[in-house]
Each structure stands twice: as structure tokens, then as C-alpha cells.
């Protein structure tokens, strides 16, 4: 009998310890990280293989969505926490980045005020609100990208998980959370640009945001962030803690009676997930050039759940694949048939729920297993997440 997967220690190298699918996934990411910039820079524009700069940013945006999907999969797919408000953590990370980018504009705004962003001058404010302090410094802003979503998730989780709110009730309060934040950020006097949000960014770390080089740089950063998020998630889910999360998902009270403090485990993974979502938001904002309160809208968060469901929850690269595919479809169809997109998205969700309950990745894993079984007789190596009910 082979128990190597359980026996292996924690300090086995992050990468060599990955399951086969994980290595393939990281390989694909690496190839993309090399090919996309090369073809953008070196292949002549007339060639079919040239990746135009707008496409680089589009791919970068998809990568940030993929990281967001990964963060949702980590809590939903592995621990059964269905957050319908994860867009809030994404948006908060995005706002923290946006505040830094606003301060980088300096006196190049319409009103030429070196300290105050245009929207504050417009509101007749004379000084920067205290909570904008330090956002002109990149390291401070990046710390906030992590801290703000992390702390909000901690406070939210502390109350929700200790009160043992689960299932639909938890989903509803996550919706309420993101909705409340949306209303707050819509208000002009909150100091985040109200309904227009933060935009007209010029530079990041002194690099022109419109230049091809910066856009490639942001793309590469998105690849690295996704790989990093993937490694973290993979380490967590492969560890014994990951098996406790699955235990909580499948039989919460059994887990408690086995001696695990379920609420702390949920809190831990919820905070990690929120931080990943925040990082995703911070990468999204410079690549699309704007962050506004619509990112907090409940529908936005629900969309993320659809990406994960389509790709296959409980499989990390399923979440990534789902985010990529659905967003590619969205870009394509909102161009080709703008009115139809929402119906298609709804239809896709219904189709997935009915015919691909494990998503693309999970369902194909079941097929592969079935084919294998036909050749070798029943095996017991089906990965946990593809068990048929």
C-alpha cells in the first residue's frame, strides 16, 4: 500500500510536491509568461502570432480573475463556505491599489493640485482625509492591499463562524456585506470618488501605464501572482489542514467531535482567501485603468461563483480554467451579441448544475477514471473531489 501522499512532510519542496496536474498547470503559466511578451515584442504586427498590447492587458485581467476564482474555490470547493460576497475583498484590494495610483498622478490632474485627487478638489475639500495617508508610498499601499481585505475577513469570519452561521444563511450575509460596502463606496463623502470611483491613472512606480512595457510588466506580475496563489492554495489543500477542511465540508459535526475547532479552521482559510482576492483586485485595477463601486455589486460576486462552478470546484486549476473560459466568452459575446450575454451566462450556470455538477475538470476526471476502471477493474484512487454521489 502506498501512503506516500499522506506521509510526506510539509517541507517537501512546494513544486516537486505538487500533484501531476499542478505541475502541468504551472508549466502552462510559465510558457504563457514567456510567449506572450515575446510575441508582443518580437513578432511583427502583421503576423498572425503577434499578440497586440490590448490583448496582453486583457489576458492580464483574466489572470487576475483567475486568482479571484482560485480564492473562492479554496473556501467553497474545499471547505463548503459559499461566499457570495468575495467581490468585496477583490474590490478593496483594487481600491487600495487605486488610491496609490491616484496619488501618483500628483499635480497632473485637471485641477493641478499636487496632493488632492481631482474629485476631492471638486468637492471643495482642502486636505487629504486621514485614511489616505501613506498611500503615495507603494509599500504602504501594497500592505493595505493585503491588510484591508484580511482584516475585514477576520472580523466578518470571527462573528459569523463563531455563531456557527452556515449554508444559505452565510451566503446571504456575505451578499449583504458586499452590498453594504457598495452603497458606502457610492457616497461621495466617503472619499473614494463616489460613483465614478478612481481612474485617469498615469503611472505605477514611475512607469507610464499606457506603455507597452508597463503592460507587459503587469501581465508578468499577474502570472507570478497567480502562480503564487496556486502554490499557496495547493500547499494548504495538500496538507493535513486541507483534509480537515474537506472533513468540515462533508461532515462538520463529525469534525468537531474529532477535536477540531471548526470555527478557527474556517476563519483561517477565509482570511487567506480574502487576501488572495485582494491581491487579485490590486492587479486588476492598473490593467483596466479604473475601480468603481460596481465591483462591489452582488451580481459581480455571483459571477465569480459561476466561473468556479463551470471549471470545477474543489479542483484548483478547474477554478482557473473556469474563470478564463467564462471571461473569454464574456469578452467575445458582449462584442458579438451584447444583449444575449447575461442569458448565456445564466444558461451556462443551469447547464453546469444539471449536466456537469463537478464542472469541466471534475466531470472529465470521472470519465477518465471510468475508462481506466474498464481496463483494470475498480480502483480506489479516485481523487476525493470527484467522488460520485
Amino acid at each position: 500500500m502506498d501512503f506516500s501522499s499522506t506521509k510526506k512532510g510539509p517541507f517537501v519542496s512546494l513544486v516537486t510536491g505538487l500533484p501531476g496536474g499542478g505541475k502541468t498547470f504551472l508549466g502552462i503559466l510559465l510558457v504563457a509568461a514567456l510567449l506572450v511578451p515575446l510575441s508582443n515584442l518580437l513578432v511583427p504586427e502583421s503576423s498572425f502570432f503577434h499578440v497586440p498590447t490590448y490583448m496582453v492587458s486583457l489576458l492580464g485581467k483574466y489572470l487576475s480573475f483567475a486568482l479571484l476564482a482560485l480564492s473562492v474555490d479554496l473556501i467553497w470547493g474545499y471547505c463548503g463556505i459559499l461566499s457570495l460576497g468575495h467581490g468585496a475583498f477583490f474590490a478593496l484590494g483594487g481600491y487600495a491599489m487605486g488610491m496609490y495610483l491616484m496619488r501618483q498622478i500628483g499635480d497632473r490632474g485637471v485641477y493641478g493640485n499636487p496632493d488632492l485627487p481631482d474629485f476631492m478638489v471638486f468637492l471643495n475639500w482642502t486636505e487629504l482625509p486621514w485614511y489616505w495617508t501613506g498611500f503615495d508610498m507603494f509599500p504602504v499601499a501594497m500592505t493595505m492591499v493585503i491588510l484591508v481585505p484580511g482584516i475585514l475577513a477576520f472580523i466578518f469570519g470571527w462573528f459569523a463562524f463563531r455563531a456557527r452561521v452556515t449554508g444559505v444563511y452565510l451566503s446571504i450575509i456575505t451578499q449583504a456585506m458586499t452590498y453594504a460596502l457598495m452603497l458606502a463606496f457610492f457616497r461621495n463623502d466617503m472619499g473614494f470618488g463616489g460613483n465614478n470611483g478612481l481612474t485617469d491613472f498615469k503611472e505605477i512606480l514611475g512607469f507610464d501605464l499606457q506603455s507597452d512595457g508597463t503592460r507587459l510588466g503587469l501581465f508578468v506580475c499577474s502570472v507570478i501572482a497567480l502562480a503564487f496563489g496556486y502554490l499557496i492554495s495547493s500547499f494548504i489543500t495538500q496538507s493535513k489542514l486541507g483534509r480537515v477542511l474537506i472533513a468540515i465540508r462533508d461532515a462538520e459535526s463529525r469534525t468537531r467531535f474529532s477535536g477540531y475547532r471548526v470555527e478557527y479552521y474556517k476563519l483561517f482559510v477565509f482570511v487567506v482567501s480574502a487576501v488572495l482576492a485582494g491581491i487579485a483586485g490590486a492587479l486588476y485595477v492598473p490593467q483596466v485603468g479604473i475601480i468603481n463601486p460596481s465591483e462591489f455589486s452582488p451580481a459581480q460576486s455571483i459571477e465569480v461563483v459561476i466561473w468556479v462552478a463551470v471549471g470545477g470546484r474543489g479542483t484548483l486549476w478547474g477554478a482557473v480554467l473556469g474563470a478564463m473560459l467564462v471571461n473569454w466568452g464574456k469578452s467575445y459575446f458582449t462584442g458579438a451579441l451584447p444583449e444575449a450575454w447575461l442569458y448565456m451566462l445564466g444558461g451556462l450556470f443551469v447547464f453546469t448544475t444539471l449536466f456537469l455538477p463537478k464542472g469541466i475538470v471534475g466531470t472529465s476526471a470521472i470519465w477518465i477514471e471510468k475508462i481506466k476502471n474498464r481496463q483494470t477493474g475498480p480502483a480506489s484512487t479516485i481523487p476525493a473531489y470527484v467522488k460520485e454521489e
Partner: protein, 257 residues
């Protein structure tokens, strides 16, 4: 500890489990009605009683799932169980098998046992946990005891009903508790499996205290131990199976339902 039961002998605890005057009501309905029960260290006790007698509710109270409205619940003489939650009580050394067998269905039998391994259940310890040779040996040993060695790599969800019951008992053994609460272990088992289960529990009771709830009288007879009859939330009779079976009140309760 505030109010220690007067009857309790100190300093060496006399009872592993001590319930006195425990009442629990749900919306006015008394599921437990001034229930008192004492289990001695190393004792195996069988608990019977008609449906709704409060057997499962009693286990809920002992394991911290349900807070009693009144009454005292002490473990090992002086640990007040009404003050703690499920995880804490589990780590104190009380293991519980649910009435409906509950295992981690999407994980392997081996991993089910691994998850139940005694030890620090903190976040960081769990995140960086590595399975030692002694742990693997212990898991193998328990697999042997519960007759699932051949199934170690199976997903628990693919086991038969009876095997799930055994796996859950195996999970309790991994916790190495001082007291095992076993709710209806042979429900849905074949006669042969039932017999194996009574052998298993008798063996476990050699070095653990065990409380077994069952409806199956053949099984109770095979356990060959003291029996407590619960009815409407309190103790109706106590003694050997023959004695309680001939008790007129017990006969009335069982015939009258």
C-alpha cells in the same frame, strides 16, 4: 470547581462520568427529565429505551452539543462538561459515534483514521503535520482491529453501511479516548457483523470505559454487561439484562408503545 456533588468521593475520582438531575427541554418538551447516571472507570454500560427516550440527547449533553437546562455533568470526577464545547470535550478524552454513521465520505479510510489521530489539533500544527512511522503503525493497527486493512485506500463513502460503523469506531480508537459513547453501532448490520461488533466492543472495553446505546437485544445480551433503561428522559430501571427484562415497568413501557 464550584458545586461539587456531595456524593462524590475525592481525591481519586470514583466515576468517569457523573450525571445528576440533568434536564433538557425543547420548546417545552422534556427530552431529559432529571436524568442521573454514573459510569465507573473501565465500565461498559448498555443503554436501552424506546424511541424518543432521550438516549441521543443524553450523549449530546455529555459531548457539549446541547447545554442542559439544569443538572450536573462531570467527567473524571471534577471536570464540568457543561462549561465546554465539542472540540474541547473530544480532546479531554470523550469519543462519540453518531447514531447515523458519519465518516468523511470523500476521503480514504486511511485518511479518516489519520484525521482522528490523537494530538494537537491547532491550525499551525495541522498545516505542517507530517505522519510519523509510529502514527502509520497505529493506523495499521486500528485498521486491523476494525477489519478494514484491505480497504485502507478506499473512499469511505464506498464502504458498506456496517463498514462505515466500524470505521467510525476506528476513528474513536484513534482519538484514544478514556470514554467512548457509541450510539446504535449495529443498526443496519447483518447478524455476522453484529456479532463481530459485540466482540469488538467487548475488546475495547478491556481498557476503556464505554457507553453503548442499542435497540438490538441479541446484541445487548452478547455484550453481557449492566443495562440502564431510559424512558421519557429518565432512568426507569438498571441491572443485568435479565433483571430489567423482567421488571414490570420495563415490560409495560415496551409493550405499551
Amino acid at each position: 470547581m464550584t458545586s461539587r456533588p456531595a456524593s462524590e468521593k475525592t481525591p481519586e475520582f470514583a466515576s468517569i462520568l457523573y450525571l445528576d438531575g440533568v434536564s433538557v427541554s425543547f420548546d417545552g418538551f422534556k427530552a431529559l427529565n432529571s436524568l442521573s447516571l454514573v459510569i465507573e472507570p473501565g465500565e461498559m454500560r448498555a443503554i436501552i429505551g424506546p424511541n424518543g427516550a432521550g438516549k441521543t440527547t443524553m450523549m449530546d449533553v455529555i459531548t457539549g452539543k446541547t447545554r442542559p437546562d439544569e443538572g450536573e455533568v462531570f467527567f473524571k470526577g471534577n471536570i464540568d462538561l457543561t462549561k465546554h464545547d465539542e472540540a474541547y470535550i473530544a480532546n479531554l478524552g470523550i469519543g462519540r459515534k453518531f447514531q447515523k454513521p458519519t465518516v468523511f465520505e470523500s476521503q480514504t479510510v486511511f485518511n479518516n483514521l489519520e484525521l482522528s489521530l490523537k494530538g494537537d489539533k491547532g491550525i499551525m500544527t495541522t498545516l505542517f503535520a507530517a505522519l510519523g512511522d509510529a502514527d502509520v503503525a497505529r493506523i495499521m493497527e486500528v485498521l486491523e482491529i476494525i477489519r478494514l486493512s484491505e480497504r485502507a485506500n478506499w473512499l469511505a463513502g464506498n464502504l458498506s453501511h456496517g463498514q462505515k460503523q466500524w470505521l467510525e469506531i476506528g476513528m474513536l480508537l484513534m482519538q484514544d479516548p478514556d470514554l467512548l459513547l457509541v450510539d446504535e453501532p449495529v443498526a443496519g448490520m447483518t447478524d455476522a457483523e453484529t456479532e463481530q461488533t459485540s466482540d469488538l466492543l467487548r475488546k475495547i472495553s478491556e481498557n476503556h470505559s464505554v457507553v453503548v446505546v442499542e435497540h438490538d437485544m441479541e446484541f445487548i445480551r452478547a455484550l453481557d454487561t449492566k443495562v440502564t433503561v431510559l424512558h421519557e428522559g429518565s432512568v426507569l430501571a438498571e441491572g443485568s439484562l435479565d433483571v430489567v427484562q423482567n421488571n414490570q415497568r420495563v415490560i409495560d413501557v415496551y409493550l405499551g408503545r
